[in-house]
């Protein structure tokens, strides 16, 4: 009996860790919707995700409209940290998260030799709020047995994101940490479980996340800060094929397609561009309540200077805890 108990709680810990893994990647870049992000876990679990990423390309990764700076080399070193919690709302599994970007970003461009750009910004970006509620799928995991028995089957959620323009923004600067405008997203993340066994070492899923992105206006845009930047809504589709390599390591092949909305800066109108990016993610559990992942994603078919180019290398750590889990650990009942 003791053996069963010990094994049970050990499993529970790893199960929770692995199913809640990538809450951390809430914004691997501003648009990306990462793998295993929408897997559900125990109601009342808390998360502190910390994501570090290095982005190299010709767009500001913190700007979801991805305005191209022609012949520019933009490099960003950004950390996103925040807090998230799972809960039950209207009898459905839900999550609420807050993420705060911070770091530095620099741009260097020689396209206009007379006016080379060499600018940088650092500080805090726009805070980002995310709400997610399950529409189709398993009931909320209110108890430890619910968490152990979780099988996503086919699940579909409603995703609502909002970025609030409170980050640092200086008029006239070529790059900023803040965007000086609201933007948001409505999506329908879907998970299709492949195979009838959902447990560490066995999980395989295909995930598709269609989403529509909308933007507010930035009335202080451009070299002088006197232009208004407007962007029509765009849409994106993210897809992930995820698979457990072992009980504690999983990988994902990631694909994102995005169609940007038409934009207008002062009198200049620009047709929305589209781009695709591919990448991979690998994740594992480091301690009883800490998980870690590495990811890389890069745009495809981007040789033309007018194409969006962006490569992102990311590393993330997520701490998680729940009152029951911590209590079991304190009294030595979690088998650790």
């Amino acid at each position: 009996m003791n053996q069963i108990k010990s094994r049970t709680f050990q499993l529970l810990g790893s199960c929770l860790a692995l199913t809640t893994f990538l809450f951390v990647s809430i914004a691997a870049n501003a648009i990306s919707l990462p793998p295993r992000f929408f897997h559900k876990t125990l109601v009342g679990t808390n998360f502190v995700p910390i994501l570090g990423m290095n982005v190299d390309g010709n767009v500001n990764p913190l700007d979801p409209s991805y305005t191209i700076s022609s012949d520019a080399d933009i490099e960003a070193n950004v950390v996103m940290a925040g807090y998230a919690r799972n809960f039950s709302l209207f009898g459905r599994s839900s999550q609420l998260a807050y993420m705060q970007p911070m770091g530095d970003i620099s741009i260097r461009s020689t396209s206009g030799a007379a006016f080379p750009i060499d600018s940088s910004a650092n500080g805090f970006g726009d805070p980002f709020f995310e709400f997610n509620i399950n529409l189709i799928g398993p009931a909320p995991q209110r108890t430890l047995p619910d968490a152990l028995r979780y099988n996503p089957g086919f699940s579909m959620d409603l995703l609502l994101d909002l970025s609030v323009p409170l980050g640092e923004y200086d008029k006239g600067e070529a790059v900023n940490m803040g965007m000086n405008r609201f933007w948001g997203r409505v999506g329908f993340p879907m998970i299709y479980q492949i195979g009838d066994v959902w447990a560490p070492g066995h999980r395989t899923s295909f995930e598709v996340i269609p989403a529509v992105i909308w933007y507010g206006d930035n009335d202080d845009y451009g070299p002088t800060g006197n232009f208004t930047q407007s962007t029509d809504p765009g849409y994106s589709v993210a897809a992930h094929l995820t698979h457990d390599l072992s009980d504690e390591i999983w990988v994902s092949l990631d694909y994102t397609y995005m169609q940007l909305g038409d934009s207008e800066v002062g009198p200049v109108e620009t047709d929305g561009k589209s781009f695709s990016s591919v990448g991979a993610t690998i994740g594992t559990q480091i301690t009883r309540n800490m998980v870690f992942s590495l990811g890389y994603q890069t745009t495809m078919d981007d040789n033309d200077p007018k194409d969006i180019q962006m490569s992102t290398f990311s590393a993330s750590i997520t701490f998680f805890w729940g009152s029951v889990l911590e209590g079991l650990h304190r009294i030595g009942s979690d088998g650790q």
Partner: protein, 591 residues
Amino acid sequence: MNYKSGKLSWPLVVSLLTMIVFPLAVQAEKQLPNILIILADDMGWADPGVFGSEIETPNIDQFAKEGVRFTDFYTNPMCTPTRVTLMSGLDHHVAGAGSMTLFTAPNQQGKPGYEGWLLPEFKTLGDVMQEAGYETYVTGKWDLGRFPELIPRARGFDRDFVMLDSHGSHYNMTNLYADNPKLVFTEDGKYLSRLPDDYYSSKTFTDKMISFIDDGRKSGKPFFAFLSYQAPHDPHHVDEPWRSMYQGVYDKGWTYFHRQRFQTQKEEGLLPDGVELAERYWYLPDSEILSPVVRATVGRHMELYAGMMTNMDYHIGRLVQFLKDIGEYDNTIIVFFGDNGPEGNNTFEAITAPGLANNIFRARNWSEEHHINVLGTPNSYPEYGAGWAQVSTTPFYGHKSYPSEGGIRNSLIVKMPGSELADGSIRGDFMHVSDIMPTLTELTGQKFPNGKATGKSWLGIFKDPDSQVRSEDDWVGWEIMGAMALRKGNWKILNNWRPYGTGEWQLYNLENDWAERHDLAKERPELLKELVALYENEFMPDNNIILPNRAVSESLWNTMPVRFPQYDNYPPGMYRKQYIPPADMIAEPKE
């Protein structure tokens, strides 16, 4: 007789000669019903729905509605001994399986009767039914020997698809032993190099049986079919949707279901007045006190067991439908029972314990057994343990490998065309698996082929409901690994290993003490003495009993907790609730 007169033609002579030479064959073709024996593996008395279980077994239940439930049917305490007796009609110590091969004691090794398989000199049910003109088929677990002279083709079966071993995967050929890593199967007398695609034990065994019966229809002979399921023996492997169909049901715990089944059995009229529920094993907690997550985890094991039972029932239903489709169902005798009590010993854990070569074999082949969602899949090895085994044996005490009632009494259902017994009736005849051979030899007009028969034919009760299979003076004895028992009439003596027993002879009156709770040895010493003498002076010498000088159970008294009496409702367990005082006596504190 003038042959030239034409009064007696040659065709008539040939016919008469044929009837003289092959009387049984003619009888079989023209009169005898088909016979279908369905054997479940490690199923408890209380597991079919009609024996008080919550497990859904509608097709097995239908047999009971069209036939008779027998509450006092006995097997032997373990699988090979029961199968040896079933096939030969002999006590297993005589027929070659005095002990399980794994547990043969030093003083039994090399002794006749302790070979571990059904000795080839004895005729089997296959032999006698073949001689009676039947087409003979067997599918499923054989467990009676692996050498060419021991396999079904050599033992009277026309067609076979069998697993020769005792246990192993339900999905593939993976065994439990480092030195014996692959299960061995035969099909129609040939050893198989691989299993058919999409193999799952209950499914494939049923598919094969259906195909055998279908193929054999052109012969015009009746069939004798032995469908020997490996289910619900561990590992508790089962496909979806059965794997998930009981999810959460058993979170209530074994204590709840122990009592629930007992209540249902009383309501169903399965228990005589005064029967008590066996005490919960002293080393198991009242499941009510377990945390929800532990109850979910241990309950998962029973979910899978129940899923296997329902899955087996589903496949039985497929066979029944086939028999109806070909018009043979109404003319088929169906006998359904389990081979011994449920497995409550966690034998897999013992066989693959750390330090053994089997442990490495387990790590390589059976390692993914731990997660609740993985249990039941091909590489897992779920076994449900003593808590659920007790539920499976409700209301009895004991489980597989012990001659307590829970280890040897099993649920028997017989559907007998033309029976005088009322459909759906329940009977308490004292019966034993050794009776099946004499029943079938009587049915087919043959003599018992293996010397002196100790079993009793059942045909009499189906013709005369007032008769009994055994009289008050008839008795049956058991011995397995040194544990001993004998029942005569309603009296039973039991000498079980400590701490399951006392290591001494105990005496029980099975008229209403089915749970063996009231040892009457001190109250009835003369009766005890008489029955022990019967055991020692008749049963043992007549049946080649060699008590082992070593046994796997001999150290249990030292390794298990000290046994203490465990009474219903104490500790209060599930009846423990928050006390709520009378409303008019509740007050706020005085500050």
